[in-house]
């Protein structure tokens, strides 16, 4: 894009008379047609085209103007060269310096906003506004929108997982509960033939069988108990003898209760009672 160059505003006091004349020439050199086009593009002149067209024409005019400035620069440089080539005849050092300064001034400068003409400034402001509006109103592309939605969704899922780590298990349990109802077999089996009823009947039969077994066993025990009760005293005596013999074999003699005759025990009891009472 061609750079917009500010109008030349040199400090004329620093230049000599020759330079001032040269500047005047330069102003003449500026393409009048280009200036007209610039004005036209800015809407100052007569024009009925669209804004964009006007703007493009304005920039075209500016470019032409710059071209003119370039030609002027070339002319001035040529003059300087000629002056130096002539060995400075017919001119003085002040003129030479003026020419060089003019060349410098004509070099394209970075535009400063405050140096723009009010018309140009309005144009630029409008352009900036339009660009800003375009940027603001520009709707995002479908791809960007889709990526944005996916990212948001993933982030949401991730946050949910972080907040409730057992959410998955809870859902699984809920699903299981739901499936329980679904998977229950609905058959037309009558209640008396249902699995529970059949099992209950089997258990009842088993219980009856056990009761019969128990009664048989109890009868057998009662019979044995009667037999044992008749034989127990003899068995105990026999077992005692066997035990005493066994203990004797191993050098052990069972310690039994003291056995004194009745008379000696009675006398001893009387004496103990008497002495005990007297001792107290």
């Amino acid at each position: 894009m061609p750079r917009v160059v500010a109008p030349i505003q040199a400090t004329m006091e620093d230049l000599g008379d020759t330079v001032q004349e040269t500047v005047r020439k330069a102003n003449k050199v500026l393409d009048a047609a280009a200036a007209a086009k610039v004005l036209e593009g800015l809407g100052i002149g007569s024009g009925g085209s669209s804004e964009l067209k006007q703007i493009s024409e304005a920039f075209s005019g500016l470019a032409t103007g710059l071209k003119g400035i370039g030609e002027l620069q070339a002319a001035i440089l040529g003059q300087v060269k000629e002056t130096l080539g002539n060995g400075g005849k017919g001119s003085n050092l002040t003129d030479l310096i003026g020419l060089i300064l003019l060349t410098k001034m004509l070099e394209p400068k970075q535009e400063k906003k405050e140096e723009l003409s009010p018309t140009m400034e309005r144009l630029l402001n409008r352009m900036e506004e339009e660009i800003r509006e375009l940027k603001e109103n520009r709707s995002p592309s479908p791809v960007d929108q889709h990526i944005h939605n996916l990212t948001t969704q993933l982030l949401s899922q991730h946050m949910t997982t972080l907040m409730d780590p057992f959410a998955g298990l809870t859902k699984l349990a809920e699903a299981k509960d739901k499936l329980k109802g679904v998977l229950v077999e609905t058959s037309n089996v009558p209640p008396e033939y249902s699995e529970g009823a059949l099992r209950l009947r089997a258990l009842e039969k088993e219980e009856k069988a056990l009761a019969v077994e128990e009664s048989k066993f109890m009868a057998e025990l009662n019979h044995k108990e009667r037999l044992w009760s008749q034989q127990i005293p003899a068995i105990i005596n026999q077992a005692g003898t066997v035990l005493a013999n066994v203990l004797g074999t191993y050098g052990l003699i069972p310690a039994g209760p003291l056995q004194f005759d009745q008379q000696a025990s009675t006398v001893a009891e009387q004496m103990a009672t008497t002495m005990g009472n007297e001792g107290q």
């Binding site: 003699i253 004194f260 000696a264 006398v267 004496m271 103990a272 002495m275 001792g279």
Partner: protein, 145 residues
């Protein structure tokens, strides 16, 4: 709980010594000791009891006396056995004396039996046990243990 053969032998020896000692005592006399709560171990003399102190016989004697004072639910089987032996030995001697026509001997042996029954009485037994424990300690000292 049973007593081993060695302990039973020791109890038998002790019973014989007690029979000898009680032979010249009456039941009333012993009852008087009980009444006065006298120390039976002081009354008994062990000077004529020869206890082997060394060698195999000493080891046997120590082993025999090892479990004598042990209690079983409050009763002491060894001390009870001594009393039972005293009663039984006195009974045998009484028969001998009777056969020999020694009426005094029979009476004395009967008294020994009554003394055994007296010492084995529930009321007197604690005092008897207490004195037997003192006797046991004295015998152990004599063994040099």
């Amino acid at each position: 709980m049973g007593l081993n053969t060695l302990t039973c032998v020791a109890c038998n020896i002790a019973a014989r010594e007690l029979v000898k000692y009680f032979y010249n005592k009456t039941a009333s006399e012993v009852a008087g000791w009980y009444k006065e709560k006298r120390d039976l171990s002081d009354l008994l003399s062990f000077e004529d009891i020869k206890i082997p102190e060394t060698g195999v016989k000493g080891s046997i004697a120590k082993a025999a006396l090892k479990n004598v004072p042990e209690r079983n639910n409050g009763s002491c089987p060894a001390y009870d056995l001594i009393l039972q032996d005293v009663y039984n030995i006195a009974g045998r001697f009484m028969i001998e004396r009777e056969q020999a026509g020694d009426k005094e001997g029979v009476t004395k042996m009967r008294d020994v039996q009554v003394i055994a029954a007296f010492l084995g009485n529930t009321k007197v037994k604690p005092w008897y046990y207490e004195n037997m424990d003192k006797l046991y300690e004295k015998i152990l000292k004599k063994l040099g243990d």
